[in-house]
């Protein structure tokens, strides 16, 4: 499957049906997940605000998954100089940044009723903030360099550096938090089944949704390059 995906023609054929299908899967899972979400009773400790968990946790998880996708695509674009890889890296960035932003906002709102403040230096929220800044850096760098090929390569290098640094950031923030006995967003102990099912469905919905949008954006990139290349050829003719 990988060689098929590395060839632009075959990728376009693949994504033509894959993207809408993933979108449909995402929609169905989201509807089911949200349905179960609001059918579930309020939590003993967190009350009704537990419902925010169903949109915070998927966003947080997917913002990390998206960064890994972006990092791997960046690596492939640097090592193999594949046009599709470059397109994939560039396409993933805004999606991941949006997800990180959602994770931060929903996380803040989730914590507010419990702690009375809009922000706590919870290790996961702090890591999420740093992740968002990583995204911002990659996107800002790409925008700041005029030459498109150079900009893409620079952003790819930064994305890779960030990918390597990300686990260390997680570790350092968790370590710091354990020292300062900070608060934690997750409820201690195992998640009751009535919450687990909708949560899993939502996570899968976000995953499928990311997949669909990522494919759509890569398709847009491929067409953009084609349009540019053809315009050049037309101008030269």
């Amino acid at each position: 499957m990988i060689p098929a995906l590395l060839n632009p023609e075959r990728f376009m054929a693949f994504s033509r049906w894959a993207a809408p299908m993933l979108g449909l899967i995402a929609l169905v899972l989201a509807l089911g997940g949200l349905g179960l979400d609001f059918a579930a009773p309020p939590d003993r400790h967190q009350g009704y605000s537990v419902h925010i968990m169903f949109i915070h946790v998927p966003a947080a998880i997917m913002s990390e998954v998206a960064y890994v996708c972006m990092g791997v695509a960046a690596f492939l674009s640097l090592v193999f100089r594949q046009v599709l890889a470059t397109a994939a890296a560039r396409a993933a960035a805004p999606l991941g940044a949006g997800l990180a932003l959602l994770a931060l906002v929903t996380g803040s709102l989730w914590g507010r009723p419990t702690w009375g403040t809009y922000w706590v230096w919870d290790p996961r929220l702090t890591s999420e903030l740093v992740l968002f800044l990583f995204y911002a850096g990659v996107m800002a760098l790409e925008l700041a360099i005029d030459d498109e090929a150079r900009a893409a390569r620079a952003a790819a290098i930064l994305a890779l550096v960030g990918l390597i640094d990300l686990p260390i950031v997680h570790f350092s923030v968790t370590w710091w938090n354990s020292l300062h006995q900070g608060s934690s967003l997750t409820t201690p102990g195992a998640l009751p089944g009535v919450y687990l099912t909708p949560l899993l469905m939502m996570v899968l919905a976000y995953l499928a949704g990311f997949g669909a949008l990522w494919l759509v954006r890569i398709r847009a990139e491929v067409w953009r390059r084609r349009a540019g290349a053809l315009a050049l050829r037309g101008a030269a003719a």
């Binding site: 850096g137 800002a140 700041a144 930064l158 923030v173």
Partner: protein, 221 residues
Amino acid sequence: MSAFALILRREFGLSFAGGGGPALAIGFFLAMAALLPLVVGAEPGRLAAVAPGFAWLVLALASLLSLERMFERDYEDGSLDLLALGPAPLEVIALAKGLAQWLSTTAPLAVFAPLVAIGLGAAPSLAPISIAAGLVGGVSFAFLGGVGAALSLGSRRGGILTALIVLPLFTPPVIFGAGAIDACAAHLDWTTPLLLLAAYSLAALALCPFAMAAAARNALS
């Protein structure tokens, strides 16, 4: 003299030319130190509590200041092209640049920062750990900063872009260094965070030259 030593000497010399090495960063440090009481209030207890952490943070920020020197000048006057074509691999040159940056900027600051912290009221007993954290952490700041500087070559936003790229990467060393200083102040185990900081700095020293070289090659292409 080996090629590496030659390059190191060149870089070190350049970083002191036109502005005396750490002088700018030290000046920045003093200015920030003067502003802190104006912001936090001059009450000694409060200042003393904040001082060591503040000094550490400003150390990290100040090491961003002289980053332009690392690549920008060579890039603009064509020396970077020559260096890239020369016998030494660009990775070795990047290593030399990183070390020169550390020796000329972050290391002197590492010694100077505790003095400022003491001036702001921090306990003098924290000076050794602050210097150690500054010297060790300074390697991270210099090399990560170098990656940022190399990546933003030829870009339109220069300084502030480099800061945006580099500051999130600074998160682990900043946490470990502050952790070491805090632990020492609380008479807890400061060796663990210091070792973590050392591990991170070693990794930065080993890996960043590759990123710097790749970024420099990209900018020259």
